[in-house]
């Protein structure tokens, strides 16, 4: 499977350069700040409250993490090497997407130290922590798929980051608009809001509809990436 070949190269690129470490460090620093801030001020051993901030933190990290994926291929002309080989566009997109997922999962794994700390000082609800992790993981994958899509649109990393950031902000702002609208527009907003399904995970529920929502959201953006490459690069 060629996805594995591409995946290996990308993972190597992330971990042989400071990029992955800086972004993971940034994530750990901010999540750690929210975690300790909450515990110090409330003296209550819980990580759910700080976890509620994670998607916001990752919203800033995801565009930077993904911006180089396809832009660099075009910058160095290596897309010619890749696509003149017996490999399908889907395999390339999947390999690259999986590599950023692994970088993201590594930083999630590092946050398990918060769980260990609260388990020592109190009795946390491990069930809802687990579902929150699942929620963060799925939400994070959706962010990354938007980033992968944006990086296929341009040759410039900065522009790619701005596009994915803009798209993610759009899905976030639409969530805020929930207070303004009612009736059908509200339903529509709830339907496309990226953060709405996340709340059920926070409450300790793994709802099938939320899981399906995130998986299809991710799937749609990866599919769009494949389309963009086929229709714009290979012309």
């Amino acid at each position: 499977m060629k996805t594995w070949t591409i995946f290996k190269r990308e993972i190597r690129g992330y971990f042989y350069s400071p990029q992955a470490y800086i972004l993971m460090g940034f994530f750990i620093l901010l999540t750690g700040f929210f975690f300790s801030d909450f515990i110090v001020h409330t003296r209550y051993p819980s990580i759910q409250y700080s976890m509620a901030n994670w998607p916001m933190i990752f919203l800033f990290i995801a565009p930077i993490l993904t911006m180089k994926l396809f832009t660099e291929e075009r910058k160095y002309g290596t897309e010619k090497l890749v696509f003149s080989s017996p490999i399908s566009v889907t395999e390339v997109v999947l390999g690259k997407f999986l590599s950023v997922c692994v970088v993201y999962l590594s930083s999630l794994i590092l946050t398990l130290i918060h769980v260990i700390i609260v388990s020592i000082i109190g009795k946390p609800d491990l069930g809802s922590i687990f579902t929150s992790y699942i929620g963060n993981m799925l939400l994070g994958f959706s962010f990354l798929s938007v980033g992968v899509f944006a990086s296929s649109l341009t040759e410039n990393q900065i522009i790619s980051a701005i596009i994915s950031f803009g798209l993610l902000i759009f899905f976030w702002i639409i969530d805020i608009l929930q207070g303004i609208f009612s009736g059908i527009p509200l339903k529509l907003i709830k339907l496309i809001s990226l953060f709405e399904p996340y709340t059920s995970f926070q409450n300790g529920i793994i709802s099938l509809s939320s899981v399906i929502y995130y998986i299809s959201f991710t799937g749609i953006f990866l599919f769009l990436t494949v389309r963009v490459i086929k229709s714009r690069w290979l012309q």
Binding site: G77, F83, S84
Partner: protein, 326 residues
């Protein structure tokens, strides 16, 4: 090995490649020649499946590139104009990545060593590509095309950026490769093409302007047998003697070397060698020949002739830079 029929590609209103057909035989080196933006790179990209043609069919080793891209691409090694190199990898890492990418089934490290030796880059195999000089990058690019031993090599200006010694080495490498591979090579360096190619395709404005061996191309375009000659003796006598010979179309003095010695340009009829009769006639007249040179139409002339003639015929002045920008 490669069969191309009726290939066309337009970008908007601009026809980058217009109804091109040709074939590449086993073990042949085919040269693509043409001015900038003539459609060389577009054609090569289409052969590698990087550009989808509007019309036409490409068969590589019997596999249709559009219907069976995986099998067809397995037989291609492509070196684009800018060598496709990941700067954050070492040469060896890149080559083993390419091995995987190209479905190489044999021993990867042996194959890497073979190609490293062939391209003369084994001494830099552990260096990061971003730290390599231009020449080594170009060689590494050639190595990525060679890896996995593909049957067809498509090389877009393979000797660009190399010093003269390296150019010679790479040419020798390419010549040796043709024993086992079929090669398509583009260049705008004419001596290079005429030195290593078996056949040449001259592309101009997206069309095939000529397709033949280098020798035939230059001779077919030559309309007369031209001789430059330096003779000692009175100018009028010389002119009279020469022009009275058979098969001489015209003669004129083109250069004065000293009081008695002049350089003359003789145009004889095509395919008629007049050198012998010239010698005897001048010897009889006691006019010694000091220098004689047969003017061959070089490939360069042929190239200019073909490309300019086309332009003349059509009478439009579209700039080639338009195509370069795509």
């Amino acid at each position: 090995m490669i069969e191309v029929s009726n290939l066309s590609k337009s970008y908007g209103s601009l026809k980058a490649v217009d109804d091109i057909s040709f074939s590449l035989k086993d073990g042949e080196i085919l040269g693509f020649l043409g001015p900038n933006g003539a459609g060389k790179s577009t054609t090569m990209n289409m052969l590698c499946g990087l550009t989808i043609p509007d019309e036409g069919e490409i068969k590589i080793n019997g596999f249709d590139l559009s219907k069976n891209p995986r099998k067809a691409k397995r037989h291609i090694g492509y070196l684009p104009e800018i060598p496709p190199l990941y700067p954050d990898m070492t040469v060896l890492e890149l080559l083993s990545f390419c091995c995987e990418l190209k479905d190489y089934s044999g021993n990867v490290s042996e194959e890497c060593n073979r190609v490293l030796n062939l391209c003369g880059i084994e001494n830099v195999k552990t260096r990061l590509i971003k730290n390599l000089s231009k020449g080594y990058r170009q060689r590494t690019g050639i190595a990525t095309a060679l890896i996995g031993n593909p049957k067809v090599l498509i090389l877009d200006e393979p000797t660009v950026g190399l010093d003269p010694k390296q150019i010679k080495e790479i040419r020798d490498v390419i010549k040796n490769l043709s024993k086992k591979h079929s090669i398509i090579l583009s260049s705008h360096i004419l001596p290079e093409v005429s030195a290593i190619c078996d056949r040449i395709i001259i592309i101009n404005k997206g069309k095939i302007a000529a397709i033949d061996t280098p020798e035939n191309l230059s001779s077919s375009l030559q309309s007369s047998f031209n001789i430059y000659i330096e003779i000692e003796g009175p100018k009028e006598d010389v002119l009279y003697t020469i022009s009275s010979l058979d098969n001489v179309l015209s003669v004129e003095a083109v250069k004065k070397i000293d009081e008695k010695i002049f350089g003359y340009m003789i145009k004889g009829e095509k395919d008629k060698d007049i050198r012998r009769s010239l010698f005897y006639a001048l010897a009889d007249g006691k006019m010694p020949i000091l220098k004689l040179e047969v003017e061959q139409m070089s490939l360069e002339d042929a190239f200019l002739h073909i490309t300019l003639e086309e332009e003349f015929k059509e009478g439009e002045d579209r700039t080639y830079e338009d195509l370069d920008n795509i």
